[in-house]
Amino acid sequence: MILDLPSLALEAGETLGVRGASGAGKSTLLRALMGRAARAEGAVRWGGTDLLALPRAARTRFRAERMGVIFQDFLLFDELSAPSNAAIQALFRPRAARAGLAAEASRLLATMEIGETRRPVAHFSGGERQRVALARALSHGPDIILADEPTASLPAEAGAALVETLLEAVRARGATLIVVSHEPAVLARMGRVLTLDHGRAAP
């Protein structure tokens, strides 16, 4: 067993930091919360929706509509521009949602001082790339945001700025935020911190 978590409850709008040594089960927890754990028992209930009880396609749709995800190494499409990356969901979401997505992505990029540049993001700095990734995670208006070591690839100053932006965005929309991080400065900004040890919640 990689992760054994009898219970974890969060209020809407709450922020949770998750820490633990390598192999403690942090990434597995995030995968389970996304409904992408290879084998899982129990329930992952977001509001009234038990993600594990949903068929695969419905889980995918749930993520598209309600979740935003940020990764340590950004995972952008290097050949695409910042607006294209930020509004990536417009490629597969229903036509009616596309215009709103693109507009929100542009607005977020502008507030993060990225702008409407058509340059491929391959030419961006690490801090700029992570801001594009943040805009991507927020552009479709999710109420759940999951971040896996979002500042690990950034210099301290850029990391701190990103956390501020992230918290501002979360507060503004009342979203729930779960951040996996090993950095005390990041964890200190979270409302609550969960420590994992060998797949279990440490006291």
Binding site: A57, L91, F92, P94
Partner: protein
């Protein structure tokens, strides 16, 4: 069903698959990103597909061009009579002006042929000389006029035994004079003949080797070789009627029948004669195409196998590339992209490579066929014009659709492996 509709029908399964798979999605920015990320590998794929397509369409285009070109060359030769021997040799000697060792038809037989009911004209041919690589062919003005379609392109016809009507592509200008060499090619001997010939007219282009030839009255050819001139002493006209007693023999007689019915009757009659044979050049060519048709089938099978191997290679490589995209595909799944969209991205990527390769292959096949046509024309003196037709479009469309359908299965297997 029209040809265009048939091509569309071939493309339809691929188009329907694309429409179903891509409906409601916009995968092209991601497809563009994948094309850009592995541009050199993609280029190799496109070239492989292009080569496979070009091979498929090039073979059929060239084969058709050879068939049409040779048929065009034989168009003016309804019936050819020669001494018993090889039909193919007689065909090559007469229609394709190829130097050949054939027996001679006697004067008696020539007169019998020319005076047969249903014969519009019977023109004897005389070979043996050349000038600058072009054959000098002795014949009558009737055949020259027939080959010209009624009127020469420029100049006039034969008035003396030393007049020459040049083929459309022969470089000699009207007014040019030359002394023919005895024989052909490397074995041609200069200086054996003394008569100076003068170019007085030019044939319009026929697409046959005769476009390079120099046509002269057969009386002049006989005379140059020290033979009787076909007419009794004192009878110095050119052309028929010939006197059998003064007729030195001819390797071939081109017969213009008055009608199709007459052509079959004449062929049967001449062929039945003990010391003659008659051929329809068109029929001989059709027999030859029959033999070549087997080769075409074998070549077609070889091309199909090669295309299959290339397609298999491309599909295998697509599977491998899909595994290279594993992180991007997983990212799309995490971001909430449905399975059909993920499949659409991979399939559209394959479709883009296949489509580009096919279009490039059609162009490549066209260029290859044209080059082959030009080389074949230069080597055979027969106009071989290869061009792409509906058959080639169908072949390309069928290949494209087949690989598009197979690439869906490959994309699905690759996606499954990438997401494992």
């Amino acid at each position: 069903m029209s040809e265009g509709l048939r091509v569309f029908t071939w493309l339809l399964p691929g188009l329907v698959l694309g429409a179903v798979l891509l409906r409601g999605f916009r995968p092209w920015p991601l497809v563009g990103a994948l094309l850009g990320r592995y541009r050199w590998i993609n280029l190799v794929f496109v070239l492989l597909i292009a080569v496979a397509t070009a091979m498929g369409i090039g073979v059929t285009a060239v084969e058709r061009a050879v068939r049409e070109g040779t048929a065009r060359a034989a168009d003016k030769f309804d019936l050819v009579v020669g001494a018993p021997g090889s039909e193919l040799t007689l065909l090559l000697a007469s229609v394709f002006a190829e130097p050949s060792a054939v027996g001679l038809v006697s004067g008696e037989n020539y007169v019998a042929v020319s005076e047969s009911a249903g014969v519009e004209f019977a023109a004897p041919l005389g070979f043996g000389d050349s000038h600058d690589g072009a054959p000098v062919i002795g014949t009558t003005m009737e055949l020259v006029t027939h080959m010209a379609g009624g009127a020469l392109a420029e100049g006039r016809g034969f008035e003396t035994p030393f007049d020459v009507v040049a083929g459309a592509l022969n470089p000699l200008e009207i007014g040019a004079t030359f002394v023919p060499a005895h024989g052909f090619g490397d074995s041609a001997e200069e200086g054996l003949h003394g008569d100076v010939l003068t170019v007085v007219g030019r044939l319009p282009a026929t697409g046959a080797p005769w476009d390079h030839a120099l046509l002269t009255p057969i009386e002049g050819v006989w005379r140059t070789h020290g033979l009787a001139a076909g007419h009794a002493p004192g009878h110095d006209w050119l052309g028929p009627p010939f006197d059998a007693r003064y007729f030195p023999g001819t390797p071939a007689i081109v017969v213009k029948p008055e009608s199709l019915t007459a052509a079959y009757a004449l062929r049967a009659r001449f062929d039945a004669a003990e010391d003659m044979m008659a051929i329809f050049p068109g029929t001989e060519l059709a027999n030859l195409y029959g033999v070549l048709g087997d080769m075409r089938a074998a070549l077609g099978a070889l091309v199909a196998v090669t295309q299959g191997i290339i397609a298999l290679g491309v599909l295998t490589a697509l599977f491998v590339l899909t595994k290279l995209f594993a992180r991007q595909i997983e990212l799309l799944a995490i971001l909430g992209a449905p399975l059909r969209f993920r499949l659409a991205v991979i399939w559209a990527y394959a479709a883009a490579l296949l489509g580009l390769g096919t279009v490039l292959g059609v162009g490549l096949g066209y260029v290859a066929a044209r080059v082959f046509g030009a080389v074949a024309t230069a080597r055979t003196d027969t106009l071989i014009t290869a061009r792409l037709g509906w058959a080639e479009a169908e072949s390309a469309a069928a290949f494209l659709t087949l690989v598009l359908l197979l690439s869906l299965a490959t994309s699905a297997v690759g996606l499954r492996a990438a997401e494992r």
